[in-house]
């Protein structure tokens, strides 16, 4: 399956293009025909479960892996076998990969020293960068005396100080606790906007992807499932996998009776989708927050509450109808054992083509 970005205006320039990239590891296909365009100054996230090929894609852009076939273009020039040290790209590694034998200043100055800038310029740039990441005054500190969040920021500073055209980030927030992670998400997004650098970000955390990105690329088994803005991806998932991976979903087998009418759970529902064959089997996806719990006689679809969990903002209820167990998020709770009706509005029903089963 190949997919390309859509909706980009012609003015925006592609800084990186992956054309039909495949990657084999001893006969195992890690990437299958990846086509992807990364525009200048965008925040693009590769999102997917582990083993989906997102890190491999990033490593190919960084120069640590060579694609088995296909082309990698940087500003229109093929760079398949350009070694990493010649690329105008810098990476923030998953476990930061800070040099343990150097202190904070020396770590950040590493790239600049290799470029043989003069001492004063290096000093100035490193201090500015450390101020930017809120680590002014930490110059002489040893790496292992820093907390995870601080190490994280040193890693970002070390990469950004080289003024790369593209910054690659490989699950950089994975090791941080929730609160720090959320803070760093905002900081990273701000930094990206302020510096005008293209970010390519790898994560398996869908919330992180949705809240930071301009473009989200959902991957699975070495293929791209969908490319789009966070809103598109959340509201219009292309298939059941994307729907399930991006947030929670109820996915139920259905049959498309005709345009705008679908049958599932033994009932007919109006919907907003069309263009399917008559009687075509489909996946029906309904978000847990899009189902309303109403009095039993107000809806044809009825069920019994089996479990209720308090989740903070909302309650999560599991409600059994005759054919399916629905997951529902609501701010109002129905007690366990209650018989209720379930109401699903037409625009809450997302119809997806069945993906060929293995």
């Amino acid at each position: 399956m190949t997919t390309t970005n859509t909706g980009g205006s012609a003015v925006q320039q592609n800084i990186i293009e992956l054309v039909d990239i495949c990657k084999d590891y001893n006969g195992t296909e890690a990437l299958k025909n990846i086509n992807l365009y990364i525009r200048k100054n965008e925040f693009l996230t590769l999102l997917g479960p582990s083993g989906c090929g997102k890190t491999t894609t990033l490593r190919i852009i960084g120069g640590f892996e060579e694609p088995t076939s296909g082309d990698l273009l940087f500003n229109g020039v093929k760079i398949n076998d350009l070694p990493p040290y010649k690329r105008r790209v810098n990476t923030v590694f998953q476990k930061y990969a800070l040099f343990p034998h150097l202190n904070v200043f020396e770590n950040v100055a590493f790239g600049l020293k290799i470029k043989k800038l003069d001492k004063k310029t290096i000093e100035k740039k490193v201090r500015n960068m450390l101020t930017l990441v809120n680590l002014a005054g930490f110059e002489e500190r040893e790496i292992d005396s820093l907390s995870g969040g601080q190490q994280q920021r040193v890693a970002i500073a070390r990469a950004l100080v080289n003024e790369p055209e593209v910054l690659l980030l490989d699950e950089p927030l994975g090791a941080l606790d929730l609160k720090l992670r959320q803070e760093m998400q905002i900081e990273l997004k701000n930094m990206q906007k302020r510096l005008g650098i293209t970010f390519v970000y790898v994560t398996h955390d869908q919330e992180e992807a949705l809240s930071m990105s301009d473009t989200v690329v959902v991957m699975k088994d070495g293929t791209i499932q969908q490319i789009g803005t966070p809103i598109d991806i959340y509201n219009e998932p292309k298939n059941a996998f994307v729907a399930d991976f991006i947030g929670e979903s109820n996915i139920i087998d259905g049959v498309m009776l005709r345009d705008y009418l679908v049958q599932f759970a033994g009932l007919d529902f109006n919907c907003v989708d069309r263009g399917f064959a008559e009687m075509e089997p489909v996946d029906v996806v309904v978000r847990p927050e899009d189902i309303q719990v109403v009095a039993e006689d107000e809806s044809k679809l009825k069920g019994e509450v089996k479990a209720v969990t308090f989740k903070g903002v909302h309650y999560e209820m599991l409600i059994d109808s005759t054919a399916f167990r629905w997951k529902i998020h609501s701010t109002e709770m129905a007690p366990v054992g209650a018989k209720v009706g379930l109401k699903i509005l037409p625009d809450a029903i997302h119809i997806m083509k069945k993906v060929a089963t293995k």
């Binding site: 990493p84 990969a97 343990p100 070390r158 080289n162």
Partner: protein, 274 residues
């Protein structure tokens, strides 16, 4: 931590066979037997300050340093090859490397004698080619060769084990920041391998500076090292007091060098052998 008693047998062993003998050596080195009985004296140490003995100390340190440097030059690339990913037959290599160590150290040294002799393998080969025989055995070079041959594994192994543990992502990070192969080595790999290098140096230098077998077999007794001197005093001359004093001097040399090493290691945040 309640199982302290498990270490008692070893503590007894240490006391009987290490601590007590050391005390005895110290005692001998500071005493002399006269008609009126034992007397404390520093005369043995004073005697060691005579040029003839200092020259022996100097030669021991010089040959040991030579061997250590050669071991480092040979051993570091070897350790890198072993630790690298590019090498397919790594297992075979490590095996070949370890096999000679299963053989007795003396036998290996004797083997070198038969190679280097006037009528040995190398000279026989040279005479086939119509070249004059070389004087190979009983030279300083032969002694250094013997030291390098015997102690090289002790240089390679600690460096190898440190190199193998270096996180590959550090190397990638350096490349990512613009470092080519040599710069990666100079700025990341080598500094991170220093603890291994230091313990390698220690493990080669110590036995090399104290050896007496290699210098006797391959040096033919012409190149008396401090180890030979001690052996002579105990076994030939029978002057245990002077022999003990030399032993103490040698221990001092070793302790000082370990001290220098460990200080250097601490500065580098390394964790080595000591």
């Amino acid at each position: 931590m309640k199982k302290n008693w498990l270490s008692y047998p070893y503590l007894v062993w240490m006391f009987l066979f290490i601590f007590l003998p050391l005390l005895l050596v110290l005692f001998y080195s500071l005493t002399t037997r006269t008609e009126d009985g034992l007397r404390f004296t520093l005369a043995h140490f004073q005697r060691f300050m005579e040029p003839i003995y200092l020259r022996v100390l100097f030669r021991s340190v010089k040959l040991a340093l030579f061997s250590t440097v050669i071991c480092l030059i040979l051993g570091y690339p070897m350790a890198m090859i072993l630790a690298g990913n590019g090498f397919k037959r790594k297992q075979v290599m490590v095996f070949l490397f370890v096999v000679p160590m299963w053989m007795n150290f003396l036998l290996r040294t004797y083997a070198w004698m038969t190679l280097l002799e006037k009528t040995g393998l190398i000279n026989t080969f040279l005479s086939w080619l119509g070249l004059p025989p070389l004087n190979l055995l009983y030279t300083e070079e032969a002694v250094v060769l013997g030291m390098v041959y015997n102690f090289l594994p002790f240089m390679v192994l600690p460096i190898y084990s440190v190199l193998r543990k270096i996180d590959k992502s550090l190397i990638e990070a350096a490349e990512d920041l613009g470092a080519d192969g040599f710069t990666v080595f100079r700025k990341v790999i080598f500094p991170l391998s220093l603890p291994g290098v230091l313990s390698g140096i220690t493990m080669v230098f110590m036995p090399a500076v104290t050896t007496f077998v290699i210098s006797r077999l391959l040096g033919g007794g012409q190149f008396t090292l401090i180890g030979n001197l001690i052996e002579q005093q105990f076994l030939l001359v029978g002057d245990w007091n002077f022999g003990s004093a030399i032993s103490m001097v040698m221990m001092l040399v070793i302790l000082v060098s370990i001290g220098v090493m460990s200080k250097y290691e601490k500065e580098n945040e390394g964790s080595g052998l000591f």
